[in-house]
Amino acid sequence: MNFVADQFLAIVLLINIVILGTRRIDIAIRAISIQGIFIGLVPILMHNFSYHLLAMTLLVLAVKAIFIPWLLLRATRKVHFTEDVRPLFGYSGNIIACALTTVLAFAIATHLPLTTAHQGLLIVPVSLATILAGAINLGTRRKAIDQVVGYLLLENGIFLFGLLLTETMPLMVEAGALLDLIAGIFVMGIIINHINREFSSIDTSHMTALREPE
């Protein structure tokens, strides 16, 4: 089954590039939702079936693939994105950066000591690559909602790494990771709504009131 899991992880990598390269926020949100599905299905492919695993998979799918994308899409419908804000180095710049960091992630992953069960799996490099993609998105995009997508990419990468520990880590830490995601996005969503009311758009580059004087 690890063969299928690896295919899924390759798709996760491709979705990273889609998200970094797209200029439309609704596409980015749908892409992160699809990425959530593939990531959510990986644990059930890797491990032997158990009800605990099934419950976790369903929960992850519900949160990552449905609830949070729905919340974000709702936020975008309330806000009209008229202007197009280019990322710091342009869209192609983002894609190139994503490709480079993916190569870097694979290079790093080959040097990390892994348990024999995990050797040859794509989990570690894909997780690192997704974390780096999230970091790029956070660093270069200026719209508040784009930054939330970047944060979700980062969380997806971290969740992937956590899969190495599903059998050994206490349940509480997993639950904590998910709870954090819900709560974080929830609060962020509320704030986005307020941002919308106070500013005409949610471009954070308009947020310049708080700066050090020249």
């Binding site: 892994l114 974390i131 944060y151 880590m169 904590g176 609060v187 307020h194 947020m207 708080l210």
Partner: protein
């Protein structure tokens, strides 16, 4: 065990009570009631909980005691201040603020007793989330911007800290040990963990918790959040939340110190600490907004903590003492800066000048608090900063000691250029006078903190000295 559980549950009960009270006037009284009980419980817990060597998820060790005493005292002062402050801000609904502060107190209590790294992470994460609506208390465009930066940067930071914890957990799996995230067990494992994973875990947790502490270069949210939040929230963030982040760093440090070769960790911490102090010192010069000034001062002090961990030896005692000293000093300054902000309806030194003439008590306390915060004798910050300084000399790091002395002087001078006009200048004639008046509840809490700061600086009570010594012993590299 019982007082420890109560420390967490009592503020939660208080938070529910605060949510249920309909009156905006009466609600703030929940804060001092809970705070006094919490302080009493803290003293009981500190005195009667014996040092246990058990591998429980939750127990109070000497380091936890230092943190618990510090923020319980600070919260108590803030809670009395809150009554008159919220009276003054009666136009704002204070339901979220009152219950949020109490949830935060509960989460902070959990932070100091958690010995399971996952649980610790969860508690620190909770403190971050509960503070967000409070930064947003003023509901204007500036506070939205501040809250947004705070939420985004701190969420990323705390996510990276989680990644660090996962690395650490995985390293135990790779080493073929019984997987665990309990501090004492990990200390026992430390020498057998693969170096790559341990170092990576350390770096990610340093960056993650460092973001929460506000170490440079992850400090960018700090001036905005501290500047826009009400003074009472600023006090809790600088003296409570930032310290919780530091506690997270201390826990991973404790594990790393058992790993054999510790030079890597010391280098990284020393560099990071000095860099933060340097950045803060630069921004403290010519800072016109006194709340932002306090934020940079917090960056400076977080840098000092980190540097002290990096130096080891005598500096560790300084760091432990400085937790209390810095918490008390920050409490004085933030609460009083709230008063000055109200008195002049501005936190910019061009408009807020001459507090001595407008509100003499606040002016005097702001000046004394400034000396208390920057490490002038007789205040406790002098003793703690001097310990860190002599720690550097004792380890033979002459260059670090000189740099530290220069940077601290720059920070002191920079702050004085802001503080002195605010205290002694002439109040602008044209501005309309606000209704603000110094009242007992707006002055007495900070005055108490300041007196405590001076007392600890002159004479350390022996029970406190014992706690500080055993906390320092927990941080040292085992022989």
């Amino acid at each position: 065990m019982l007082p420890v559980t109560l420390l967490i549950l009592l503020p939660l009960l208080g938070a529910i009570t605060a949510l249920l009270i309909p009156s905006n006037q009466k609600r703030p009284w929940v804060l001092p009631v809970v705070a006094c009980l919490h302080l009493a419980l803290s003293f009981i817990a500190v005195c009667y909980s014996t040092e246990s060597s058990t591998n429980d998820w939750i127990h109070l060790d000497a380091i936890g005691k230092v943190f618990l005493l510090e923020f319980s005292l600070l919260f108590c002062a803030c809670s009395f201040y809150a009554i008159d402050y919220l009276q003054y801000r009666h136009e704002r609904d204070n339901r979220v603020l009152c219950s949020g502060m109490l949830v935060c107190l509960s989460a902070m209590s959990l932070t100091v007793v958690a010995h399971h790294l996952g649980l610790l992470w969860l508690a620190i994460e909770t403190t971050t989330l509960t503070m967000a609506p409070m930064v947003y208390f003023n509901h204007n465009a500036r506070s939205i911007e501040a809250t947004w930066k705070y939420m985004l940067i701190c969420s990323v930071g705390i996510a990276l800290a989680l990644l660090g914890i996962l690395f650490l957990a995985y390293s135990t799996v790779v080493a073929g040990l019984e997987p665990s995230l309990i501090l004492e067990e990990l200390q026992g494992y430390a020498s057998r963990l693969p170096k790559v994973w341990l170092n990576a875990a350390f770096i990610f947790m340093l960056v993650g918790y460092g973001t929460k502490m506000g170490l440079a270069p992850m400090h960018t949210w700090k001036p905005d959040a501290y500047g826009e939040a009400p003074g009472i929230v600023g006090a809790m963030m600088a003296g409570g939340l930032a310290n919780c982040g530091f506690l997270g760093l201390i826990r991973i440090y404790q594990i790393c110190m058992h790993s054999g070769d510790v030079r890597f960790f010391h280098y990284v911490l020393t560099g990071m600490g000095l860099f933060s102090i340097a950045v803060a010192a630069l921004f403290l010069v010519r800072q016109t907004d006194f709340k932002r000034m306090l934020a940079y001062s917090s960056v400076e002090h977080m840098g000092l903590f980190t540097l002290a961990l990096g130096l080891g030896g005598k500096a560790l005692f300084g760091a432990m003492l400085h937790i209390i000293a810095n918490g008390l000093g920050k409490g004085v300054m933030f609460l009083i800066s709230g008063n000055i902000h109200r008195a002049f309806a501005s936190k910019n030194m061009e408009l807020a000048q001459g507090t001595m003439k407008r509100a003499p008590w606040s002016g005097a306390l702001f000046l004394l608090g400034f000396f208390g915060l920057t490490g002038s004798p007789p205040f406790a910050t002098f003793a703690s900063e001097f310990s860190i300084f002599s720690g550097a000399l004792e380890q033979g790091h002459l260059l670090i000691a000189i740099t530290l002395a220069i940077l601290l002087s720059v920070a002191f001078l920079g702050m004085s250029f802001t503080v002195l006009p605010v205290v002694f200048g002439d109040p602008p004639a044209k501005r309309q006078r606000t209704k603000y008046k110094d009242t007992i509840l707006l002055i007495a809490p900070s005055m108490t903190l300041l007196i405590l700061l001076a007392i600890i600086g002159i004479w350390l009570p022996s029970p406190l000295l014992d706690i500080l010594n055993s906390a320092t012993a927990l941080l040292e590299v085992p022989k």
